[in-house]
Homo-oligomer: 413 residues x 2
């Protein structure tokens, strides 16, 4: 098999993604998944730095949290179910290649000069960087393609929460792609190439870059700090905690519907922080609000970050106290949020905060009760939720013949 | 000396930046630079990952390009020269600490509970990450503080170039801070804390995050790719090329004014790329436009990226040909640009491109002739300059008693 990282003009295929979707039209795109390709071609380009794409669950959930994020919500613009299904297959193949560190298509460059390159090229020569691509389906998708009766009960319309100030241009979406990688250029490249493959079928509704992870799913790691300078969510579910993953994250066969078995539900919330106000708050008040000390991250009265918190030692409106499972009938979520900074607003204030991402088996027993409990959170004076979305995250792609969403769209599933 | 990375409540100083600027007022801030501190306290927290702050030139110019950028342009809001000079001193001290991997102030956390923490905290526990902080002074600063007769001749008002579509909200600024680091959280933390120290004296006018470097100043390194998937500026000036730095980057004593000796001039241009259009362009056209092949980055007709280009083999409007020193009477600049992606515009297109940063001894012999030459660049169909700024970058801070801008503001200089 050719090394896709060296020029191989003779191997470039007319059926590559770029040529297919854009230069040759939808008919050719239909043949794209039939491209001859050996197993070697999708093997990791650099061992140890690629995350397996195939599995019972999608990667990017229990996977140790990567450093950077590019998240994109799409709206579907085609009303042709077959075209959309073909897109999901094309996306799957591209995701399979990119997560392994390969460019999209066989002839990313050095190939047929008359067609656009299959791959946009900015990740050529970069490592796989633990790229994961995770797809989710929003409630509005189920109003299309005769999917209404397949919408999961758990895929609710999120209620309005106290303090919400949601921008519809940063909320919702028929589907989403979460791209996480240790190199932001790899994550941005992935979203861009998926958007390109989807040209004329889907369009990006909104997107968000995250520059720093705020959660860890690795038990031994320190919890990273958010932009308020605090560790938060220190008892996050670790990717190795099979029991808690089964209990709180993965949809079970009896949860229904069957097509979601092995999947999860993703809540995305863009939480703007009033950074400048926060920075003028005394250390004592900051620590009271979180219910932790700022340096170590230990709960009030304790010495270490991971010490079991004594909730009654905290103020009644402390963040840790209100968010803790003991205050919410055991409600537990897997957090995977990222810090963002999107420049400066018209008043010279940083447009910065937390892009909150949480996975759970059922939002009605996860994010919703926790967020309701946080209605009295002392932190609310310093934050505002300005974007919101909920997605049903289907199970993983099992093997090279499987594709994203098959269990939803296949008649037999 | 205390380790500032462990809680040391007794050492927290009332004169720390946060307390000084915000809680205690300007009078206390005036005393902040007099804080007792030993040399140890500003030594790099982790050897090998901190860049020296002191030197004849500011770091962040010839320094090997770091992975990430946070760039902020400020406007001055105080009209009190002494207050502004004190701010420059306070900023210098904070920059000295942060580039060495220390938090701002002595008692960043664990300290006096009644005052805001000296440091916002989100970089606690992170490595210095080769952070550099580089200050520049814009033309408009010289309309203040009786500086008019000290404005360098070379600090011109940039002319309007063909195709410019400049947004005034992304252009200009009385001064700028370029923060580069291998960890974006470290760069963001630095700009945020400088903005915080400057509260009431300066305000951020605009800012830009860059997620991927597009230039290298390390001779052996591959040139990183821009978001068009191409290597560009491959014969960039390397940080080790003393001769070319002297000739093209550092202001000489006879260039004038004397306060700029050892400094440089920084051009910042926000260049939006029409990514989606570019991605639909054939490989041949892309390669013709740049004058390189996409895979290796070799000039037309050559085999390797660094092979000397034969300009006449390229189309007359090829980017490499028009930008090459041989087409511009030898004009040469040091490039330090970064790719940016700032979400999506209202049409679902990525707001992405190149945040171009170039340092030169004199823009009238550097950026201006090159950019004029690029008026006929074939690339212009796919890009648009939407932001622009020029700054005089003063010489380096020599030692712990020196401060940013001393040569400009001191009577004796």
């Amino acid at each position: 098999m050719t090394d896709t990282n060296s020029p191989s003009p003779s191997r470039r295929s007319l059926l590559g993604w770029g040529g297919a979707g854009l230069a040759l039209g939808a008919a050719a795109a239909g043949g794209a998944v039939a491209m001859a390709r050996t197993e070697d071609d999708t093997a990791p380009a650099a061992a140890g730095s690629a995350i397996a794409f195939h599995g019972p669950h999608q990667a990017g959930i229990a996977t140790p949290v990567q450093d950077r994020l590019h998240f994109a919500a799409f709206d579907v613009t085609t009303d042709d179910r077959e075209v959309f299904v073909q897109l999901l297959k094309d996306w799957t193949e591209a995701a399979r290649r990119m997560t392994a560190g390969h460019p999209v298509g066989e002839g990313a460059y050095g190939g047929l000069a008359e067609a656009p390159p299959d791959d946009t090229g900015e990740a050529l020569g970069l490592k796989p960087s633990r790229l994961t691509l995770t797809i989710g389906f929003g409630p509005s998708l189920f109003e299309k393609f005769d999917l209404a009766d397949r919408r999961p009960e758990a895929l609710v319309d999120l209620p309005k929460f106290a303090g919400d100030n949601l921008d519809k241009n940063r909320s919702g979406g028929d589907l989403c792609i979460q791209a996480c990688a240790d190199d932001p250029q790899v994550a941005v490249h992935a979203v861009r190439n998926l958007a390109r493959i989807g040209f004329g079928k889907v369009v990006i509704k909104w997107s968000q870059l995250g520059f720093g992870k705020t959660s860890s799913t690795t038990p031994e790691a320190q919890t990273p700090r958010n932009l308020m300078g605090f560790k938060d969510g220190t008892r996050n579910i670790a990717g190795t905690e099979t029991d808690r993953l089964e209990k709180f994250v993965w949809v079970d066969g009896k949860d229904g519907p069957s097509w979601m078995e092995g999947g999860s539900y993703l809540v995305a919330r863009r939480i703007r922080m009033h950074i400048e106000t926060w920075d003028r708050t005394s250390l004592q008040e900051q620590e009271d609000i979180f219910g932790r000390d700022k340096g170590e991250g230990a709960p009030v009265g304790k010495a270490k970050e991971r010490d079991e918190p004594f909730l009654k030692a905290m103020k009644p409106d402390a963040h840790v106290r209100l968010a803790h499972p003991d205050s919410n009938h055991g409600a537990t979520i897997l957090r995977r949020g990222y810090s963002f900074t999107d420049g400066t607003d018209g008043l010279g204030r940083l447009d910065a905060g937390l892009f909150f991402l949480a996975f759970q088996r059922d939002v009605r027993k996860g994010f919703i009760p926790i967020q309701r409990s946080l209605a009295t959170d002392a932190l609310n004076e310093y934050i505002q939720h300005v974007g919101s979305a909920l997605f049903a995250v289907p199970p993983g792609v099992r093997d090279k013949d499987d594709w994203w969403g098959r269990t939803l769209f296949s008649k037999e599933a």
